[in-house]
C-alpha cells in the first residue's frame, strides 16, 4: 500500500477522530477564569496532539519513500487472521452472554467450544475439563472470596442457583 486512496482515507479518518475528540473535551466557559494549563481539557488535548504527531510519524515511517522499495508490512493481511478473528468473536460472545445466561451456564458452554476450536478432540477432556474448572473457579471465587458471580435470568437463574447450592454443600 503506497500513498493511494485507501491510505489517504485512513489518515483522514485518524485526523478527524483526533479533531472530534479535541473539540468534544472542551469545558466551554465553565473554567475560563482558570489558567490554560490548569483547565480540565488541557491535559487530554496535549495527549491528543501527542498521539496525532506520533501517529502521523508512524504512518510516514511505514510508507516507503521510493516506489521500488517494498512495503514493510501488509497490515491488512497481518491483522485480519481469520482464526484469531473467530476466536475473538467467541470470547466476546461469552463475555456478553454471561450477563443473561449466568456465569455457570455460559462457562460450561464456552469452555468446550473454545477448547474444540483450539484443537481438543477427546470427548473425555471436552466434558471433564469444563466441569472440574467450573467447580474449582466457583469454590475459589464464589465460596472462598465471596465474589458475586452473575446468575443470569429465568431458567438460567434457576440453573445457577442449583449449581451454586451444590458447590456450597460440597464445600461445607
Amino acid at each position: 500500500m503506497r500513498w493511494n486512496a485507501e491510505r489517504i482515507l485512513g489518515v483522514a479518518i485518524f485526523i478527524l477522530v483526533i479533531v472530534y475528540l479535541y473539540i468534544h473535551v472542551g469545558s466551554g466557559q465553565m473554567f475560563s477564569s482558570y489558567d490554560v494549563m490548569s483547565r480540565p481539557e488541557f491535559w487530554p488535548r496535549v495527549m491528543l496532539l501527542g498521539l496525532l504527531v506520533t501517529g502521523l510519524l508512524k504512518i510516514l515511517a511505514a510508507t516507503p519513500h521510493s516506489p521500488t522499495r517494498p512495503e514493510k508490512t501488509n497490515w491488512r493481511q497481518h491483522l485480519l487472521v481469520p482464526r484469531a478473528l473467530i476466536g475473538i468473536f467467541i470470547v466476546a460472545a461469552y463475555c456478553y452472554i454471561t450477563q443473561y445466561a449466568g456465569f455457570a451456564f455460559a462457562t460450561l458452554i464456552f469452555i468446550p467450544i473454545f477448547m474444540w476450536y483450539l484443537g481438543a478432540r477427546s470427548p473425555k477432556i471436552l466434558i471433564f475439563t469444563p466441569v472440574i474448572s467450573l467447580i474449582a473457579v466457583l469454590l475459589l471465587f464464589w465460596r472462598f472470596l465471596y465474589v458475586a458471580v452473575p446468575k443470569g435470568y429465568g431458567i438460567f437463574l434457576s440453573f445457577s442457583n442449583m449449581l451454586l447450592s451444590l458447590v456450597r454443600i460440597g464445600a461445607s
Binding site: D35, P40, L51, L79, V91, Y96, F103, F114, A120
Partner: protein, 501 residues
C-alpha cells in the same frame, strides 16, 4: 543492630511465625493469579485479622504484601501476564527468557532479587528510615510529577521495537486515563453521556485485557498445542550463578534497592514507578543496552528488586509519618487503626513492640518468599505444560472473574474484551502495550500533580526548572529520551549504508 535483633526476636515466636507464613503463602498464590493483586488479597483478608491480636494481624498483611509483590513475577515470566502493574517491566525480559528455555533462571533471578531487594529496603527502613521519610515528605507535587515524567519517558523509549512506537502507546494510554472526571476540577471528559465512563478506566481491567486476552488472541494466529517454551519439563527455579551474583550485587541490586526504597517512601508514587525507573536506569548503565527486551537477566533483577524495596519504603512512610506510601500500606494502616494504634512519630515510644514486629516481619518475610518461590514455581511451571486448549479457556474464565470481582460490572468485562482487541492490534503492529498500561496507572497521578504545580506556580512551566530535584529529573528524562533515540538513528543509518553497499 539492637533494633534488628529485637525485631527478629519479636517475630520468631511460633504464633507470629505461623501468621507471617500464612500471609506470605496467600500473597505469593494470589499475586500470581491474573486479576487479583496484593491490594485485593489484603482487602479480602482484613476481616480475618479482626480476631487476631495486633501483631499477628499486621504480620499476615505484611506477608500478603511482600508475597504478592513476588507472585506477580511468576506469571509475568511464564505466561507474559503480570500479576499487577509493578510486574509489567518483568515481562519485557522475563518472558523472552522463558521462551528461550530459561524460565527457571528468570524466576530464580527475580526471586533472588525480590528477597535481597526486600532485605536491603528493610535494613534502610530500620537504620535511616525516619530521615528518608522526612525527606520524602518535602517532595511536593512538582517533584512527584517529574518523577512520573521520568518514569514514563524512560519506559516509552525502552519498551518495544522503537521509541516512536513506545510514545504512541504512551499517549494512547494517557488519553484513555483521562476518560472520566478530571482529577482536580471534577469536569467529565470523553464520557459521551455514559454514567459508567464517569468513573474512568480501572487499570486492572486494562491490564487483564491487554496482557491476558491479548496473549490468547495472539496465540490464535499460530496453531500449536503447548506454550512455546523450550525445555519446560526440565525447568527448575535456578538461583543466579556466583559470577552473575557478584555482578548483580555490585551494581544492579544496590541501585535498584535505593531507587525502590526512595520511590516507595514517596506517598502515591508506588512500586510501579519504582520498577520502571529501576529498569530504565539499569538499561542505561548496562554495557549491552540493546539486549534489553530480548531476555536479559538484569531486566528481571532490576524491577523485581525495586518492587520489593518499594514495599519497605512504603512501610517506612506509614510507620514514621502515618501516611501510607501505597494502596496495600493504606490497608495495613487500617489494620493499625482497628487494633487501636496510631502510626506516626509517637508509635516508636508508645508501642515499640509493634514497630519491632513490623521491622522483623519485613526482614523474615523475604526468606519465606524465597521458600514459597521455590515451592510454588514448580506448580506453576507444571500448569504451563498443560496444552493450550486447556490453559487458554481457563485464562479467559479467570480474567473474567478477576475483572468482574472489582465492582461487579458487566461493562468492565466488555471493556476488558475491547482492551484485548486493542492489545492484539497493537501487538500485530509491533507496538508494546507496556507504556499504555503504565500510563493508565500513572496518568491520573501525573495530571493531578501537574495541575497542582500549575496552580502554585506563578511562572507556568518554569516551576519545574526552579526546583533542584525536579530539574535533575527533567535532565534525566531528556537523557533517557535522547540516548535511545540517537542509538536508533545511528543503527538506521548504518543499516541504510549496508543496504546501499
Amino acid at each position: 543492630m539492637e533494633i534488628i535483633v529485637n525485631s527478629i526476636l519479636m517475630v520468631v515466636q511460633p504464633e507470629n511465625m505461623l501468621w507471617l507464613f500464612i500471609g506470605t503463602f496467600i500473597g505469593v498464590v494470589f499475586g500470581a493469579i491474573p486479576g487479583i493483586n496484593g491490594v485485593m488479597a489484603a482487602v479480602l483478608f482484613v476481616p480475618f485479622t479482626y480476631h487476631l491480636g495486633p501483631i499477628p494481624s499486621i504480620l499476615v498483611l505484611i506477608g500478603i504484601y511482600q508475597g504478592s509483590n513476588f507472585g506477580g513475577c511468576i506469571t509475568a515470566v511464564l505466561f507474559n501476564i503480570p500479576g499487577d502493574p509493578a510486574a509489567i517491566c518483568t515481562t519485557f525480559d522475563g518472558h523472552p527468557m522463558a521462551k528461550r528455555g530459561e524460565a527457571g533462571k528468570a524466576i530464580g533471578s527475580g526471586l533472588f532479587a525480590s528477597s535481597i531487594g526486600g532485605l536491603l529496603g528493610t535494613i534502610v527502613l530500620v537504620t535511616v528510615g525516619p530521615v528518608i521519610a522526612r525527606f520524602a515528605l518535602h517532595l511536593g507535587a512538582v517533584e512527584v510529577f517529574t518523577f512520573i515524567f521520568l518514569g514514563l519517558t524512560t519506559v516509552s523509549s525502552i519498551a518495544g521495537s522503537s521509541t516512536l512506537n513506545g510514545f504512541i502507546s504512551l499517549f494512547f494510554g494517557l488519553l484513555i486515563a483521562s476518560i472520566g472526571l478530571s482529577p482536580m476540577t471534577g469536569f467529565p471528559r470523553f464520557i459521551f453521556g455514559s454514567n459508567y465512563l464517569l468513573g474512568g478506566m480501572d487499570f486492572i481491567v486494562a491490564l487483564m485485557g491487554l496482557f491476558a486476552l491479548t496473549e490468547v488472541f495472539d496465540r490464535l494466529t499460530t496453531k500449536g498445542i503447548s506454550y512455546s517454551v523450550k525445555g519446560l519439563e526440565k525447568t527448575r527455579t535456578e538461583l543466579p550463578r556466583w559470577s552473575e551474583l557478584k555482578r548483580y550485587l555490585i551494581s544492579t541490586i544496590p541501585r535498584s534497592a535505593v531507587i525502590g526504597t526512595i520511590i516507595g517512601a514517596i506517598p502515591g508514587a508506588g512500586a510501579t514507578l519504582g520498577a520502571i525507573l529501576s529498569y530504565g536506569v539499569t538499561k542505561q548503565f548496562s554495557k549491552e543496552p540493546h539486549k534489553f527486551g530480548t531476555g536479559m537477566p538484569e531486566g528481571v533483577v532490576a524491577p523485581e528488586c525495586a518492587n520489593n524495596a518499594c514495599a519497605a519504603g512504603a512501610v517506612m512512610t506509614m510507620l514514621t509519618l502515618g501516611i501510607p506510601g501505597s494502596a496495600t500500606t493504606a490497608i495495613i494502616l487500617g489494620a493499625f487503626f482497628i487494633a487501636g494504634l496510631n502510626p506516626g512519630p509517637t508509635i516508636f515510644t508508645t508501642n515499640p513492640e509493634i514497630v519491632h514486629a513490623c521491622f522483623g516481619g519485613m526482614l523474615i518475610v523475604n526468606f519465606m518468599v524465597l521458600f514459597f518461590g521455590f515451592l510454588l514455581t514448580r506448580i506453576y511451571v507444571k500448569a504451563m505444560g498443560l496444552p493450550v486448549y486447556i490453559l487458554d479457556p481457563l485464562i479467559i474464565v479467570l480474567s473474567y472473574l478477576g475483572v468482574f470481582s472489582i465492582r461487579n460490572s458487566f461493562a468492565d468485562v466488555m471493556i476488558m474484551t475491547v482492551f484485548g482487541i486493542i492489545g492484539y492490534v497493537m501487538r500485530r503492529m509491533d507496538i508494546s502495550v507496556g507504556p499504555l498500561v503504565l500510563a493508565l496507572v500513572l496518568g491520573p497521578i501525573a495530571e493531578k500533580n501537574f495541575v497542582i504545580s500549575m496552580r502554585i506556580s506563578s511562572n507556568g512551566l518554569l516551576i519545574f526548572f526552579t526546583h533542584p530535584v525536579s530539574l535533575i529529573m527533567l535532565i534525566l528524562s531528556a537523557l533517557s529520551l535522547a540516548i535511545p533515540l540517537m542509538r536508533e538513528l545511528y543503527n538506521k543509518k548504518r543499516e541504510r549504508r549496508t543496504e546501499a553497499a
